[in-house]
């Protein structure tokens, strides 16, 4: 009888537990060894050496075989028996590690500086840090860009082909999703901004709001990023 029955693909037929024509006493002894090893490995705070197990189980137990059987039994389970530095321990199956950590979502509000920077990146992309500073009239904190990178709403696009080869920034798809936009070109223009009250008073002649360019292909004056460019941003936001 297949007692563990936990998996279709585990070769349970190979378990010594189920091998051949065992006499009942031998089966009982083997079961006892398996159960004992299971309990000891479970309760131990440290990985257990095979010799240690041998000392604690019934004399004459084939510990290596017990461990091999246990490893097979648990191979497809939520916990696996693993050998670490010659000792044995139960450990959560690697593919289930995510179940052990629970995410707690913390709502956070963007700072005013971050919001302004984000807005400029959205409208003026591709845009360099110097250009952002020029528009805002103040220098931009590295932290502000870091926070925006963390939101996953902005990304580094490339490098402007000008002296100093500054990085260019743009928005991401996550940005569009979060703000409910189909494309950055959906961002309101001067007239809409005025109509909605975001711009007040007389707008001087020559004042314009750019039509954002968010196409993934680089602009003629943009060079692609190299791996070196990403070294500062570790770990990267998922959508990059």
């Amino acid at each position: 009888m297949n007692r563990s029955g936990m998996s279709d693909d585990a070769p349970h037929g190979q378990l010594r537990l189920f091998a051949g024509d065992r006499d009942p006493a031998e089966y009982e002894a083997w079961m006892a060894a398996i159960r004992g090893a299971e309990a000891i490995l479970f309760a131990s705070a440290q990985p257990v050496a095979a010799e240690d197990l041998a000392e604690r189980l019934a004399p004459g137990t084939d510990v290596a075989h017990v461990l091999a059987d246990l490893r097979t039994i648990y191979a497809s389970r939520g916990v696996n028996l693993v050998e670490v530095a010659g000792k044995w321990m139960f450990r959560t199956a690697p593919d289930l590690a995510h179940l052990l950590t629970r995410e707690q979502v913390e709502p956070k509000k963007l700072s005013r500086a971050a919001l302004e920077t984000l807005a400029i990146i959205a409208y003026h992309q591709p845009v360099t840090r110097a250009e952002i500073e020029e528009i805002r009239g103040v220098s931009t904190n590295k932290g502000t860009l870091d926070v925006l990178m963390e939101t996953g709403w902005i990304r580094m696009r490339g490098r402007r082909r000008t002296p100093g080869r500054p990085l260019t920034y743009g928005t991401t798809e996550a940005f569009l999703v979060h703000f409910g936009l189909e494309a950055v070109t959906d961002l309101p223009g001067v007239d809409d901004l005025k109509a909605a009250g975001f711009l007040e008073g007389a707008v001087p002649p020559g004042f314009r709001v750019p039509v954002p360019n968010a196409s993934d292909t680089l602009m003629p004056d943009e060079d692609p990023l190299t791996e070196l460019d990403f070294q500062d941003y570790e770990p990267l936001p998922p959508e990059e």
Binding site: E103, V105, E106, L110, L118, A119, A122, L193
Partner: protein, 270 residues
């Protein structure tokens, strides 16, 4: 019935040769009820059928005996002795001589039996509790629990309104800045005078002033201010006699040369 070792200590050493006489260490008892229960168990009958009268006799005899050897007995034991003596006398009275508003002797005896039973019951329960598989002693939890941590993830909040508001605000600031920032560049009079004073010392004969000023005219915007300031400063220097100016006709080039009261002449004080 109570199997746990916590209970196995014998607290009542019966000397088999002494009949009903006990050799007892009172310290082993948890109070008079415990002593009564121990005595009752010694009757070897079910508690429900115990003879309270016999039990009272045993208790009183026991206390008497202790009294012979020890001067001090805990008040609890004496109170119980007094109550049992009273109960005993009541039990021996004919029932009709008992006041109606008091519980009968049988009821009092029954209450005592009930208390004994209840104490014994709780002891059995305690024993059963201890006989359970206890965590850490009989059954063990996972020895090496794995980290089940909490990962904090930030959820950034911002609305399209916030975004447009932020954009509108700063572009608005931008518009205002356009007006204030365009500051006209001017050549200060003092600067012009300093420069002319230095220049004129090197010029021996008439020379067009523009030739010397051109290097200060950095852009179309600055030409006017350089000329105006230089002219004003020049007029002042002429008045002081340090410079001479000459112009052939209106709008013709202006010539300058060192004046009679040049740099060699001591200053007169303005």
């Amino acid at each position: 019935m109570v199997t746990t070792d916590e209970w196995s200590e014998s607290r009542l050493d019966v000397d088999p040769t002494a009949g009903e006489a006990f050799v007892v260490d009172l310290d082993g008892f948890e109070g008079p009820l415990d002593l009564l229960l121990t005595l009752a168990r010694n009757q070897k009958v079910d508690l429900a059928r115990i003879s309270i009268l016999a039990l009272a006799d045993q208790y009183l005899a026991f206390i008497d005996k202790l009294g012979e050897h020890r001067l001090e007995l805990a008040a609890d034991y004496l109170v119980m002795a007094a109550w049992l003596a009273y109960l005993k006398s009541r039990l021996m009275l004919p029932p009709d001589e008992v006041p109606q508003d008091e519980p009968s002797a049988e009821e009092l005896a029954g209450m005592l039996a009930m208390r004994l039973k209840r104490l014994e019951g709780i002891r059995i329960l305690a024993g059963r509790l201890l006989d359970r598989s206890r965590l850490g002693r009989d059954v063990l939890p996972r020895g090496a629990p794995e980290e089940t941590g909490l990962v904090k993830r930030s959820l950034w909040e911002a609305s399209l309104y916030d975004l447009l508001d932020a954009y509108g605000r700063q572009r608005q600031r931008d518009m205002v800045r356009v007006h204030t920032v365009r500051k006209r560049q001017v050549w200060a009079l003092a600067d012009a005078r300093d420069i002319l004073e230095r220049l004129v010392g090197t010029i021996a004969d008439w020379a067009p002033i523009d030739d010397y000023l051109v290097r200060y005219m950095t852009g179309p915007d600055s030409r006017a201010t350089v000329r105006a300031s230089a002219f004003s400063a020049a007029l002042e220097l002429v008045r002081e006699g340090r410079m001479e100016l000459m112009q052939s006709s209106p709008f013709a080039p202006l010539y300058m040369r060192k004046g009679p009261g040049g740099p060699d002449t001591p200053e007169e004080g303005a």
